[in-house]
């Protein structure tokens, strides 16, 4: 009980100290200088309709590369943690037996699976035009596979395919970055491809390409994560 009181006091103290951050935060009237520039010149410079994508993939492209790396490292970590040759033994024997999916689920999933795949692909291909992008698309694709797992929990995914997809798409992403460095203004510069007309699918230089690669990579990584967790449980 005392512990809780101390915790409460501490949290109150923390929020008290941080009150200047939380209170009196009115809506900003205008953009910051930086975003102002992005907003006013981003479309022109990069040819993306979705300015967030412009920021994500190009202006702050290094963040995104890092983000991909984070996810990649996390996937590697999950695989390392939940890999096959472990001392601790399985959790499965500690849990009650699992049942298979119900009829409703099975049918629904089978129906949804291709739709979801398509939808995911759509999202990342159109990342520069509409809300969404590589990550979102990748997640949708991964969720399609999760659905499959709901139906059949013992389903095996081909690891070599997953790994190859992940590795090749990642490497291709980096390669594109380097091409930007060599043939355009800088690392990850998508403008080595023509920027095209705003609003078209094939526009914004290499951004759609990058987002597609990210989508594939994220998708396969998330599938890998989910698969690893499933294998252990």
């Amino acid at each position: 009980m005392i512990k809780r009181i101390i915790i409460i006091i501490t949290l109150i103290g923390l929020s008290f100290v941080l009150l200047p951050l939380f209170l009196n935060m009115e809506d900003a009237e205008r953009l910051s200088e930086l975003s102002q520039t992005y907003v006013t010149e981003g479309a022109e410079e990069l040819g993306t309709a979705n300015l967030v994508t412009a920021v994500v993939v190009s202006y702050r492209g290094l963040d995104t590369l890092g983000e991909v790396a984070v996810l990649f490292a996390a996937t590697a970590g999950v695989t390392l943690l939940l890999g096959t040759k472990k001392k601790g033994g399985s959790v499965t024997d500690l849990l009650e037996e699992r049942r298979g999916g119900s009829e409703l689920l099975n049918t629904g999933a089978a129906l949804l699976f291709p739709v979801l795949l398509l939808f995911g692909a759509y999202i990342f291909v159109h990342g520069h035009l509409t809300p969404g992008g590589g990550f979102q698309g990748g997640v949708v694709i991964a969720s399609a596979f999760v659905l499959l797992l709901f139906i059949e929990s013992d389903r095996e995914f081909s690891h070599s395919v997953l790994h190859s997809l992940e590795a090749l798409s990642g490497a291709a992403y980096v390669l594109i970055g380097l091409i930007g460095l060599w043939f355009a203004a800088g690392f990850l510069d998508p403008r080595f491809l023509p920027s095209g007309e705003i609003g078209r699918l094939l526009s914004a230089g290499a951004i759609p390409l990058i987002y597609s690669l990210i989508g594939i990579k994220v998708g396969s990584e998330l599938i890998g994560v989910v698969d690893s967790l499933r294998r252990r449980s």
Binding site: E33, R60, G61, A76, G170, D189
Partner: protein, 1103 residues
Amino acid sequence: MVSPLYILGIGLGIAFLLPLFEKLGKKIPRIITLITLMVFTLIAVSWVVMISGAVDKFPVIFNTIGFKAPFAISLQVGLIEALVLVMINTAALLSGLFLSLRKDSHWEGKQIVLFLTLVIGVNGLVLTRDLFNLFVFLEIVSISMYALIASNDEKHAYEAGFKYLIAGSIASAFYLIGVIYLYRFTGTLFIDQIVAMDLAALQATHPGLVFAIALIMLGLLIELKPFPSNGWAIDAYEASDPAVSAMISAVGASGVVFAFYKISSLFPPEMAEIVVASGAVTFVFSQLVGLRQKRVRRMLGYSSVGQIGIIVMIIGLQRILKIDDAQMIMSSAIILLGNHIFSKAGLFWLSDIFDQEQLRRVRRRPLMIVLFGVFLGSLAGLPPFPAFWAKWRMITVLAESDKLFLIIIILLGSLFEAGYLFRWFTTLLRDESDPGDIHEEQIPEDIPVSSSQTGVVSSTRALAALAENAGSVVEELPVLSVEDPTAAEKRNPVVLAVVAISSVIVIAAGVLLGAEFLRASNELLLLIPVAVLTAGILFDLLHLPHRIHLILAMAGISFYSYRILMGLDGIYLVFGILFLTGSLIQMISLYVKKSLHFGLIPMITALILSLGNLLISTTRLGFFFSWEMMTVLSSLLILRGRKASGAGLRYLLFSLGGAYSMLIGLMLYPDFSLLLQGVRDVSTPPVLAVFLISIGAMVKMGSLGLHIWLPGAYAEAENEISSLLSSVVSKAGLFLLFVTSSLYLIPLLPSGNIPVSVLLGWIGAFTALAGAFFALFQEDIKYTLAYSSMGQVGYMLLAFSLMTHLGWVTSLYMAVTHLLFKALLFLAVAGVLYRTKTRMMYQMGGLIKRMPISFITVLLSIIALSGVPPLTGFGGKWLLYTALIEKGWYLQAGVAMFASAIAFLYLFRLIHVIFLGQLKDEHRAMKEAPIGFLIPQVVGMIVIMLFSMYPSLLIGPLQRAVTPFFSESIIWEGYTVFSTLGYWNGNAVMYVTIGVFIFPLAWLLLMQRKHTRMVEQFNIVFAAERPDRPETTHFGYNFFAHYRRALGMYLTPWATRWWTGVVTLTDSLGGTMRRIYTGNGQTYAFQIILYGTVLLLLLRGGF
């Protein structure tokens, strides 16, 4: 110039592709990763080379995408980034090599991937200039670390990893909140742009600004494991694979440190102060807690945390200090960081090799010892390693800005750290027979002694808890009593080579830095001991024959002495002869040893050269460097003794404590360099400085209260080393006193005219008395001699503190003569021990017939030492009492006389119990000591006789050496020396003595020419019985039992108890402190949040 983007781009590309490479072959990823790391290193090196060619063109900003900085994320490469990256990538490369080369290496698959992402992340942390990008890289680093911890598939690793995750998540939450608000307030994420803004003005419009910065700071600070919210990190160090711990500690932490440095330019001053406080607290308390730690990896964890703490402190400081100072101190931070990276990694690796080979001791593994020594020494900040120079610079800067408290904090923490690190070292070095502590007084079974009679003055009894703990440091490692043959199979020299590279880097960096630091004052010569040591160790590793090595060393020292002594005069020349010639003669005795004694000659040589360097150093740095070198080398030499682990550790700690105390004193009194050059009365020093400097000197001299290291160190070291230490090295303290002499004239109390020297004088007098008393009751001959040295040095201190011409002449005279007698005694005793194989005096006896020359040596030296005319020792006593009475120090004179009477007692006991009395059966076939021992003895005896006959030979030059400081107080008329009180004619005394000796001798020869029968040892009247055994007939044990009965109760080892108390207190403080590390991840989380809250509250200035 290679773009840093290649590091990130290519690195990540390869990381992504590694799983594919693995399909080509198991080893391929390893090779590719190693090549990648090597490329990273080379790139970083190329930057350093380029930048150092054109410093003003840097730092260079590299943009991504092709937009200028605020619009796109940019990377910056400057000298500091390049240097840090060289260090980090080199360490990573070595780590990779270690991981792939070690026995049963399982370095494959995801581990390699995560290793690579970790390195890339750290590179990114160092390079990026964008706050949010920093966050991304921080997460890459963290996630890689979280996962790597788990690569050690043990339950504890998972536990630790999870706690690490919790802590890291909270930290990143703080950071993220901070970043977004900072963006809100400033409109940008580009650090340089924010720095360029007028933050104070911004603060006025946005009161939350400071908290946004604080949250960012906090996020990174928590990643840097501040005390006390760092239990999770220490768990991780302990539980993960040592090679991973090495990576986390060396590479991971370094990246975060650099990131912290980067954002530190945002800190307002009050925040910087909080950071300083946090770093200082972390440094001291981590080391304090480490003291109690017995599990090696955890101990290294505490050390890591502490090391990072001090760097954090510096980062805070550089925001507070003036710009020049800030740069200075930042350079020391970089040095410390590098030092930490390589040594800590090295230690973690070594601990892994230990596990692999199932080792417990390294006594027979020279290379291991060297590696351990290098890493521990560099962590502890001993010279010549980089950390020494860094700390020096830091302390200089702090002293200039009057931050005494921080200096004390730093030194205290360093002392703690040296304490536990070297406790580990001594435990590793310990011989199988070594009980850890100095061994207890032995009670013979055939002599009944009631328990009340023993142990009263046994200073070995209550000895420090430190040494006690030393026994258990490595108990948790696999036990392997003696290094068995199978252990040899487990050896893996390739891995050691990797570790060795790390140590070479550390040494090279240290030497280069030393050269850099010393070049300014033109004192490059001071680095000679380091060079000699390195070369010597190499010779030893290559098995150069002992005697050749010895001859080389002696030739080198002779040459050096010749060069040095030519340039000295006055007191310096006296000490020069004392240090160099005295040691050189004693080195002859090393000739007796036949086989290689690893490290012996290099260390002795370097020690002697360091002593010599004390004389020629002209600056504080040079002096302190040589002083520390001397300290370290002598403690390493002591550690060579078979049972010296406890003693060596105690010596090291006391010496370091003394040296640090002296250092603070020197810092408080910047005119020191002038003092060294003989200029007096420069300015009035603070009393504190005077005390601290004198404590430094008195520790070395083993003055009363600070002496408890002394008996063990002198006794447990090898014999030749005991001799060198007590006769030569202890005089270094005296030298320090002499060169700082003018300090001791200032008043003891602010009001009043009693100078500090009076206090020193009393300490000296009582040291003399206590030394004599302690020596009186020892059974162990080396303890007797050790305490005797303590007492004799006490006389010198007393004489020095007189601050008169005669006093100084006395002090120097005693220093020279004590060198002679004590060296002779130790050497003769060394010969005896060499033959008898025991140190207990009562186990010897009757050796006069077996070792007549040694007997004569001992006889001469004890006559001289006790001050009996006609030998030269009387001169010392005569000078001393005359000087004391002239000055009016009557009571001190009384104490000194009492001490000298007691000295007579133990000296008689020494000679009697060893050489007279009953010869033991086992010594019946014994021979005289080896010739190597005898030659220096004979030389010494001749010198003693010469000085006895012609005291002016010695007193004259000393008088001239002292004359520049005081007006003459003694005059010579022929052979007679006159003081204002009395006179002494050594020459006449000698002749009269010879005369009165010859007369009865002739008479006896005449009367006894008839039937005098030489009889054997049992032909004694024994109450009409016959003696049974020599052991029961020899009166040697508890020789002065009645004295003990009369005065034993006053001989309680107060000093020992006091220091034991101090150690126990410190220890239990550490023990209490570490209770906060409950092991519960949730508690750790709470600690972090509480810590953050408290810091924020502090920043806000309370509620």
